[in-house]
Symmetry: C2
């Protein structure tokens, strides 16, 4: 029975999250029941949505229970199987949580999925060819639904969702403008990811400045915005929005720690006849196959070249997660476990 290091949520954040909210423990992995599969995790995914679940408030997902293993996506290898659909050596993606091993029910729909690593590296199934990529796909195709030639903006553009959004939007003939933190990320967004422009939000920290930067980068106005962060960027986008612009609300990290961040002028939604729609991609499992197929194709053809930030070892997960919330990552944030 392998020993299994695990990270639990020990207590809830008071304002900003800290490493003291987490606790590292070690347990035996339980013996398999009939129908179960034992997975050794290779990578753990760290994602901004996890911060929302650490709060004990009404949120879109069940909140993370105290004293239990932090929930999260994982990729790994089947090392023991009592389910006929899985064999030892299969590579799988699942929701194994912040731990080195997990036991999964092989029959539960959506909990475990075999993946093909011949053309796609295993870790990408946590990023561009996984939940973040499908998130970008959903917001782009199901909410923004752009026409060729339209101008789209995405915040957190160098991250897993943002970079996928850019590739998907370029494939549809759109002008794509990213927003990212710092000149290195902006260079990556335009140089390697192929965005048409990128705005450094650190250089445009207030509404007037961001609005000017958007005006320069979007001479024909903004037709669609994919919101990953919240705060003054959305206010600025509304000032530059065209009639019938659409906003896909995916994340609003900026408000997770404390007081809600207001939207300054919601009347612009009426004036511009805009649509704003929030979504959670796990509630739309029916689109995943089509989305993953397109994303895998973009990666295989080199039109989507994701970047990864990799922390080493489970014990590094809490600090890597806190860094992610502050934009300290550069590309998809992972924890490598073996």
């Amino acid at each position: 029975m392998p020993r299994n290091a695990q990270i639990l949520l020990d207590n809830r954040p008071q304002g900003e999250a800290t490493v003291d909210n987490f606790r590292l423990v070690t347990n035996d992995t339980p013996a398999l029941q009939e129908g179960q599969v034992l997975v050794r995790h290779h990578y753990l995914s760290l994602d901004p949505y996890m911060r929302g679940r650490m709060n004990d408030s009404k949120s879109y997902a069940a909140c993370q229970p105290l004293g239990q293993v932090m929930m999260g996506g994982t990729v790994g290898e089947v090392v023991e199987s009592r389910h006929s659909a899985y064999a030892v050596g299969d590579k799988v993606v699942g929701m194994g949580g912040w731990q080195e091993w997990s036991v999964a029910d092989g029959a539960a729909p959506g909990m475990l999925r075999k993946v093909d690593t011949r053309q796609i590296p295993l870790s990408y199934y946590l990023g561009a060819v996984g939940m973040p990529g499908v998130t970008a796909w959903y917001g782009l195709t199901q909410i923004i639904d752009p026409k060729p030639g339209q101008t789209l903006v995405v915040s957190a553009a160098s991250g897993a969702v943002g970079s996928s959004f850019g590739a998907l939007a370029k494939a549809r003939g759109c002008r794509v403008v990213g927003i990212a933190g710092g000149p290195d990320k902006c260079r990556y967004v335009t140089g390697e990811l192929g965005f048409d422009a990128c705005i450094d939000h650190r250089a445009h920290g207030d509404l007037a400045s961001m609005s000017q930067a958007l005006k320069a980068a979007c001479p024909d106005g903004i037709d669609g915005y994919f919101e990953n962060v919240g705060g003054h960027i959305l206010d600025a986008v509304l000032l530059r929005a065209n009639a019938f612009a659409r906003v896909a609300l995916c994340g609003m990290i900026a408000g997770y720690d404390g007081q809600p961040l207001p939207l300054l002028n919601p009347a612009l939604l009426l004036i511009n006849r805009m649509k704003v729609e929030g979504f959670i991609v796990s509630e739309h499992m029916e689109v995943w196959p089509a989305a993953l197929k397109e994303l895998a194709g973009l990666v295989a053809s080199g039109r989507l070249r994701p970047r990864e930030s990799i922390a080493q070892g489970l014990a590094a997960a809490p600090q890597a997660f806190l860094d992610l919330l502050k934009g300290g990552n550069f590309g998809k944030q992972l924890v490598k476990l073996i």
Copy 2:
């Protein structure tokens, strides 16, 4: 040639609109050209959207030009016709503006429409069976798209749009909760219009109080909201919204006069996976025939009993309009011209 009293926009409001923004003048009506029709107005419609057009800022419609007749909907009678589709004595609805007579191009699509006053009083074509009614129909059916049994809320519930919304929503098996100003309007909304409940916003002037009132009136939460006013009511609705709730943004009167009114916690749109959509009904002419047919049926069968506030004579229009913006009307605000 009849003399024609007209009200022009003389200057733009600085903050709150006043009667001094308007000017009353008298002119001859011009001689008819081939294809034109001369209409004597019986009623002029006063609508909140007109306030937005008085500002010289970016808005959803072309702003009202200075020194020209205020734009607005009218019903009246054809008194002279040089277009084969119109005969003297025809009752028509059009956009004749704040004046006693107008000359209309009989061929211009959507400018003039003959109406049948055998079952529907002429003035209703400016209210429940006109633009306000279609506005309610569009927001309800094209944006909120409710299921039977869902709970819907509408502000300005005793007005032309709100009362139509209530009848249309009841016809679809929804629970409908109105918000109106003062006990008289609330009694009318529940007693005569058949809403399930009505909240007096004057008794619930802050977010906490309105949120409590909505909780009491909507024990199963809110699935759809039709926004006519803006301000703290929308904040309160978001606190009581169910997952996948929809908001149709039709008017935000509260912010017309000055500083924009913020939306306190837009992250709730994500948490509740909501959709918020602004619209202008004149951009969706394709739905008008179906909407008007349903609305006329509701009126004819007595399931929609609109109430009207009628000011007498064109000179009374500016003050009646300003009163409307403050909720001084009770039902559809009209000006009777003959």
